[in-house]
């Protein structure tokens, strides 16, 4: 047999073998991230034995993969941010993280701020505000104030008396940061208040994924969680997202922690850490 013919046979053999190996990798990888029906059924049974009821249909069947994303606080430094909101001239430090100028006041607490104009701002943008365009109007206002509003979800609420409150939630890879939101309160007269916290995407901390527990594991953890209300409860919804722990202290940058939000029938939301501690 000639060497040329042998090469042809070997090429065919390796193409076939590589195809089998690749298919095996893709199949096993996909299988590893899928939660089997048996596991879901067993989890529901364990939960029921502990007076927690859930419709098996709302339990996601695929384990989420989480990148080690980092976000940067829009508040780089309290005074600099106050000057950004109020204008650089005449901003006075009133103590206790309060800054004041003729344009308004900004008060800080950890990652959050409350900015109250002394006279409503951006009246030229809000004069025709209504329930339909409130979110879009708020986006334009925030963009003008220097906020990056990409990857965010907005919900507008009619507060009556011509006032609209728009809530923005930042999303990372289409998953919400549960404990950080930005609010804009406005009417036809202009913006009356901007408050909350806001983070912008900064990049990956490392190429490694954050190992996470399956939702079934999180539900089992919920049984003995101190956050669980006493007595019988029903889980109405499960949503995967992340948290920055914005209330505790100021973060210049932060790697959000993956969490599952468990919404209960009493309206309460419980946030469960989804990190797999190894």
């Amino acid at each position: 047999m000639s060497w040329s013919r042998a090469k042809t046979i070997l090429i065919i053999f390796f193409v076939a073998l590589n195809a089998v190996l690749l298919a095996n990798i893709l199949y096993t990888d996909n299988k590893a991230s899928v939660i089997s029906a048996d596991v879901i059924s067993s989890t529901v049974q364990v939960l029921e034995k502990n007076n927690i009821y859930i419709n098996a249909g709302i339990i996601p069947k695929k384990a989420p993969s989480v990148k080690s994303d980092e976000v940067t606080n829009v508040i780089d430094e309290y005074r600099a941010f106050a000057e950004k909101m109020l204008g650089a001239d005449g901003v006075g430090d009133m103590g206790n993280n309060v800054f004041d100028s003729t344009g308004g006041t900004v008060e800080f607490s950890a990652d959050s701020f409350v900015c109250i104009p002394k006279n409503p701002w951006y009246s030229e943008l809000t004069q025709n505000v209504n329930e339909k365009n409130a979110a879009k109007t708020a986006v334009n206002i925030l963009k003008k104030s220097g906020f990056d509003m990409s990857s965010s979800e907005a919900v507008a609420e009619n507060r009556g008396n011509g006032e609209f409150l728009v809530k923005f939630t930042k999303t990372l890879r289409k998953r919400p940061i549960f404990d950080s939101a930005l609010f804009v309160l406005m009417s036809g007269e202009g913006v009356k208040k901007i408050y909350g916290s806001w983070f912008e995407y900064d990049g990956l901390v490392s190429g490694k994924d954050i190992p996470t527990k399956n939702v079934t594991g999180v539900l089992i953890d919920f049984i003995n969680s101190p956050l669980r209300p006493q007595g019988e409860v029903r889980i109405e919804d499960l949503e995967f997202g992340c948290a920055v722990n914005e209330n505790t202290q100021y973060h210049k940058t932060v790697m959000p922690v993956p969490v599952w939000r468990i919404t209960l029938n009493n309206g309460q939301s419980v946030y469960m850490d989804a990190r797999k501690v190894q």
Binding site: L21, D29, K252
Partner: protein, 470 residues
């Protein structure tokens, strides 16, 4: 021909791709049935750990433990008062001398069980004879010092509480007297043996010959402070020196050094690879730890039992959370804990390419089971004095757990130039002049050459450092 070449290249590519795909299946944990990974399993097996130990230079991770009883300075008293020779760890004969004194002391402590308190005059007399003076930077708890000398129990302990200086006075190859000084209360003790094999006299002669021939890298000492009565107050002079401060006859030569922060560069760039290794050393999983940056740029890592912070200037602070024990590093007991801290520090410095040579500067035990140990970086045999942080490394352990660990993360490179410190007498005069106006008598505890590091990145120079007694 072209077709054959193409087939050869294609075949090579397919073979490489095949090896890559096969390795993915073998190594990736989730591709094994039920998450079982042969390689992961073998890594944790006893056989694998034994094999890995064979290839791993374990001694490199025990540098500081071995250096624990290495004196900051060894002074050879030749018996001739005008010929005393001072050596630090950068000297070629230092290791040999240290090994000889170590084995002689270990032998002595294992055999002799009674220490006798002596008058200072006897100590001073030993220093005028043919002897070796060992000056430690730390004041050791005597019990701990003897443990490091390989002795578990000894009656020497009952008399001596602390050991800060030692003099070995060989009378022959078998007869030797060892004097110990407790610097804190200025008491002196003696042990002697007529059955202590030693080569101290021979080493003294060797160092003397070497100094006479080379005349170069040793530092001649004219006298100790007590020789010149600098340890006594005269007239209006209110500054006195510790009796054991050596008086040098010539300025000290040294090479300047350059400091670097291995983790965070001056432009704020974080070396993620080394940071992951650092976190791993503290048992922190870099993928799951909660991490954020403070307003000052300090990186913060929060885990269940501890918080670890690294400031932009390279100051690392690991603190166990209140109510938790911290990181388990050893069995309970001061000796085990100090050794474990030293080993941990070596492992950390090796992992992040920080300065590997450190010398213990203080060891304290509160008597309630908490031990504190501090280290200074050492470069070219000279300590690096941290003017801002106080010490390079500080650790606190209790119950075998590391509760507090701070370190100014630094690596030092030696510059290719030689400089000289100011004249010793000039530095001494300046020190005395600086305290002349004080109402109370000022005691200078220590006067030695060392590098000064103010925490900034860049060139560092050596100068005289003067410690005044509180």
């Amino acid at each position: 021909m072209k077709k054959e070449q193409f087939k050869s290249i294609l075949l090579s590519v397919l073979v490489v791709l095949n090896v890559f795909l096969a390795s993915q299946i073998l190594i990736d944990k989730k591709l094994w049935p039920s998450g079982y990974n042969f390689f992961s399993h073998t890594e944790n097996s006893g056989i694998f750990s034994i094999v890995s130990k064979l290839f791993k230079n374990s001694e490199s991770n025990m540098i500081s433990r071995a250096r624990m009883t290495m004196p900051e300075r060894i002074i050879i008293n030749t018996g001739d008062q005008t010929t005393r020779i001072s050596l630090n760890s950068s000297h070629g004969l230092y290791n040999q001398l240290n090994e000889n004194t170590y084995s002689a002391l270990a032998d002595m402590f294992s055999k002799v069980k009674n220490a006798v308190q002596v008058e200072p005059g006897e100590w001073y007399a030993a220093l005028t004879g043919k002897s070796v003076y060992l000056s430690y930077e730390a004041d050791f708890d005597a019990k701990l010092y003897l443990r490091f000398m390989g002795t578990a129990e000894s009656e020497v302990l009952s008399a001596v509480q602390e050991i800060s200086d030692v003099v070995l006075l060989p009378l022959s190859q078998k007869v030797m007297i060892v004097y110990m000084r407790n610097r804190s209360d200025d008491t002196y003790y003696k042990i002697s043996s007529s059955d202590c094999e030693n080569e101290i006299e021979a080493v003294i002669d060797l160092v003397r010959q070497n100094a006479e021939q080379s005349g170069g890298d040793t530092s001649p000492v004219i006298n100790y402070s007590f020789d010149l009565f600098f340890d006594k107050a005269f007239g209006n002079q209110r500054v006195i020196l510790d009796p054991m401060i050596p008086i040098y006859s010539t300025p000290q030569s040294y090479r300047p050094i350059t400091s670097e922060n291995p983790i965070i560069k001056t432009d704020g760039t974080v070396n993620q690879y080394l940071l992951d290794k650092l976190l791993h050393a503290f048992g922190i999983n870099s993928s799951t730890v909660r991490r954020y940056t403070e307003a000052s740029g300090t990186l913060v890592f929060v885990e269940n039992n501890a918080t670890l912070k690294i400031s932009p200037d390279g100051f690392l602070d690991y603190s166990a959370r209140e109510g938790t024990n911290g990181m388990k590093i050893s069995d309970s007991g001061a000796y085990s804990e100090v050794c474990a801290v030293a080993d941990f520090m070596d492992g950390l410095n090796a992992a992040i390419t920080a300065q590997k040579e450190l010398s213990v500067s203080s060891v304290d035990s509160d008597g309630k089971g908490t031990v504190s140990v501090a280290f200074d970086y050492t470069v070219q045999g000279l300590p690096v004095n941290m003017t801002k942080q106080g010490q390079a490394v500080y650790a606190q352990a209790s119950g075998g757990c590391l509760q507090k660990y701070t370190q100014l993360l630094r690596s030092y490179s030696v510059k290719n130039e030689v400089m000289q410190t100011p004249e010793y007498i000039t530095a001494l005069d300046l020190a005395i002049a600086g305290h002349m106006d004080e109402d109370k008598t000022v005691v200078i505890k220590r006067m030695s050459v060392g590098y000064t590091d103010d925490g900034s990145i860049g060139d560092k120079y050596a100068e005289w450092h003067i410690d005044v007694k509180d």
